[in-house]
């Protein structure tokens, strides 16, 4: 068996798909993740392939329990996404999706920081086409902003990696930890891709502008690569506990008032990544296992929710909560899948999110962070509220929008069906996933206390929603834009730049005017003295000349005798 890196098949397929006619292209796209996953499972569980390039010790392929799990996850995510996008006739999207999935695989199997950097940038460049593919002015702008921010993240990573190389002489990607400037650069690079608070806005800006199928791929890869990188490089960094806690809480407020349902899911994605970041920050075996398992589950249930919204967008052309409603009548199957995704993200017992989220929560309390724990509990109730209830409610129930459509295309339903089956499968038989986790932990997934507590939390959250809705307190869905950090670079900075240029121009105008005035004054002065009418150009009478000569001679005579 040759040890081929898993990204290779995807890259080759992307090249071939660029020229292949539609029918064989679809077959190829379905075959690649299956073949590549089979190859990955054949690889030994611990493997390191080294390469020396211009004296640099590189490790383009490293397999261990952590990278292997993410590798399997990305194959599943790619396969589901490909099935979901089979109906599109857009070659660009197909090629971009294959290259994007390949880049994600390249990044998680990168054993050194330089290889990681290369795939880090390829992730950005390949995925942006899924945003551009909407072919609207909005998506073009969002895509450009996305690209700039992702490339900045890559540049920070490269700078940090080179500085580390200068200090230690090694590029190996292992635990970095926060010490020194170089590690801070890498931390921020990971943080941008991970959507840390204040660095998060590219996600909620760009993901909802991608195509219905593109968002499914986007939600699977970029942020999860960042979670993987944080887990490898910064496990046990306490700062992450607090960053993660903020990430779980602030997006849910935006999610409640946001109208675009895919943007609601984008905010909810930051909230879910928050749980993973907290787990990584704690760094114990239980917390890391929980964080990684939650990343795994999130790709599938967030993918499922994105797919159900993608199906709605594909069939109705609308994505705003204010324009949708009553679709359970015409899309009952999609509705059911959406509810399964909603139950999983809300961590209902027997759905996939339950065990992984409980692991993180228990670890938080055990490590003595009760305030963070309360914040996460608040976020758990909140996520049920905005993703678990709001998404299915406003899309499929609520008031009848009058839209009558048909069920989504069969390939979309199959993709959603696979994801829904995994959500329930992992929920009911958690060992399928938990035996693959990097650490051996003794944890009882189904314990009466947890189950009861979680059900109480969810039932009463639902009651709160119902009460607020019935009492008419719940804020209506409105056509609107909510200001977020992006305001700084979409509004303030351009305005400031425009004002500064205007000011500079004014200053230049004023300066120029002053110079001209000064010049004119000088010229007038010269003309006054030397010009044709000037003092020095006057003809002087001979008499006065003689008089002056006499005065001078007289003066010198007096001086001589003194």
């Amino acid at each position: 068996m040759i040890e081929l890196p898993p990204f290779l098949l995807f890259y080759i397929a992307a090249l071939v798909a660029a020229v292949l006619p539609r029918a064989p292209r679809l077959v190829l796209m379905l075959a690649v993740p299956l073949a590549s996953c089979a190859m990955l499972l054949q690889l030994p569980t611990e493997l390191s392939v080294n390469l020396v390039l211009m004296d640099l010790q590189l490790e383009p392929l490293r397999v261990d329990r952590l990278s292997r799990l993410f590798g399997i996850l990305f194959h599943i995510g790619a396969f589901i996404g490909i099935v979901f996008s089979l109906h599109t006739r857009d070659r660009t999207q197909h090629v971009a999706a294959l290259a994007y999935a390949g880049s994600a695989l390249g990044a998680v199997f990168a054993g050194d920081l330089l290889t990681l950097f290369v795939f880090w940038e390829l992730l950005a460049v390949s995925s942006v086409f899924l945003i551009f593919a909407s072919r609207t002015e909005r998506s073009y702008g969002a895509g450009m902003r996305y690209l700039v921010i992702q490339v900045i993240s890559g540049v920070l990573l490269l700078a940090g990696a080179l500085m580390l190389y200068g200090q230690s002489g090694s590029l190996r990607f292992e635990h970095i930890g926060l010490n020194g400037f170089a590690s801070v650069l890498i931390f921020i690079a990971f943080g941008i891709k991970c959507a840390f608070p204040l660095l998060h806005n590219w996600l909620t800006d760009a993901y909802p502008e991608a195509t219905p199928t593109g968002t499914v791929f986007l939600s699977a890869f970029t942020t999860k690569v960042a979670v993987y990188a944080l887990a490898r490089g910064f496990a046990g960094t306490e700062l992450l506990v607090y960053i993660g806690a903020v990430m779980t809480c602030f997006p849910i407020f935006y999610a409640v008032i946001e109208n675009d349902l895919r943007r609601v899911l984008a905010y909810s994605m930051i909230n879910q990544i928050g749980f993973m970041v907290v787990g990584i920050g704690l760094g114990t075996a239980l917390a890391l296992n929980g964080a990684i398992a939650h990343a795994f589950n999130d790709v599938i249930f967030k993918g499922l929710l994105m797919m159900s919204m993608g199906a709605v967008l594909h069939m109705t052309g609308r994505m705003n909560g204010s324009d949708l409603g009553g679709l359970y009548k015409s899309m009952p199957v999609t509705t059911t899948f959406c509810i399964i995704g909603a139950a999983s993200i809300s961590a209902f017992p027997l759905f996939s999110g339950f065990v992984s989220k409980s692991m993180v929560m228990v670890a938080v309390l055990e490590e003595g962070h009760p305030v963070v724990w309360l914040a996460l509990l608040f976020a758990s109730a909140g996520v049920f509220h905005h993703a678990g209830i709001k998404i299915p409610f406003f899309a499929f129930f609520a008031h009848d929008s009058g839209i009558r459509t048909r069920e989504a295309p069969i390939n979309m339903l199959i993709a959603m069906g696979i994801a829904a089956a995994l959500c329930i499968g992992i929920g009911v038989w958690p060992w399928m996933l938990y035996d693959l986790l990097p650490f051996q932990v003794d944890y009882t997934p189904f314990d009466g206390s947890h189950i009861l507590a979680q059900i109480q939390l969810l039932v009463f959250s639902a009651a709160a929603f119902a009460w607020l809705k019935v009492a008419g307190i719940y804020p209506p869905e409105l056509h609107s834009t909510n200001i977020d950090v992006e305001w700084l670079y979409r509004r303030l900075a351009p305005r400031w730049l425009r004002n500064t240029t205007a000011l500079t121009r004014q200053a230049a105008d004023l300066g120029g005017q002053a110079c001209r005035n000064l010049g004119q004054k000088l010229m007038r002065l010269v003309l006054d003295h030397y010009g044709p009418e000037g003092t020095l150009a006057r003809a002087w009478p001979t008499g006065s000349m003689v008089l002056w000569v006499a005065v001078l001679l007289g003066a010198s005579l007096i001086l001589f005798y003194l």
Partner: protein, 83 residues
């Protein structure tokens, strides 16, 4: 042709869902009286802690978010307009 009436077109079905929810609340909160949850932190063990926390959290979330709208909400084409 009259369109087929669906599940939630009947007001009584909506009422049923709400009643079921109230029943679920009573049952799960009641379970706290008979089932002793083992806890890691003392405040977890208070009667109905998760139930009350879940309800209050969601109400606060929605009320705060509603207030945030006053500060943050702009027109849909806010960034598209050049002013």
């Amino acid at each position: 042709m009259q369109e087929k009436r669906h599940l939630f077109d009947e007001k009584k079905n909506v009422k049923r869902v709400l009643k079921a929810l109230v029943l679920a609340c009573v049952l799960t909160a009641g379970a706290d009286l008979v089932y002793h949850r083992h806890v890691v932190h003392p405040f977890e063990g208070l009667w109905g802690f998760y139930a009350i926390y879940g309800f209050v959290a969601c109400v606060i979330l929605v009320l705060l978010a509603k207030e945030m709208r006053k500060l943050l909400m702009r027109d849909e084409d806010y960034y598209d307009r050049d002013d």
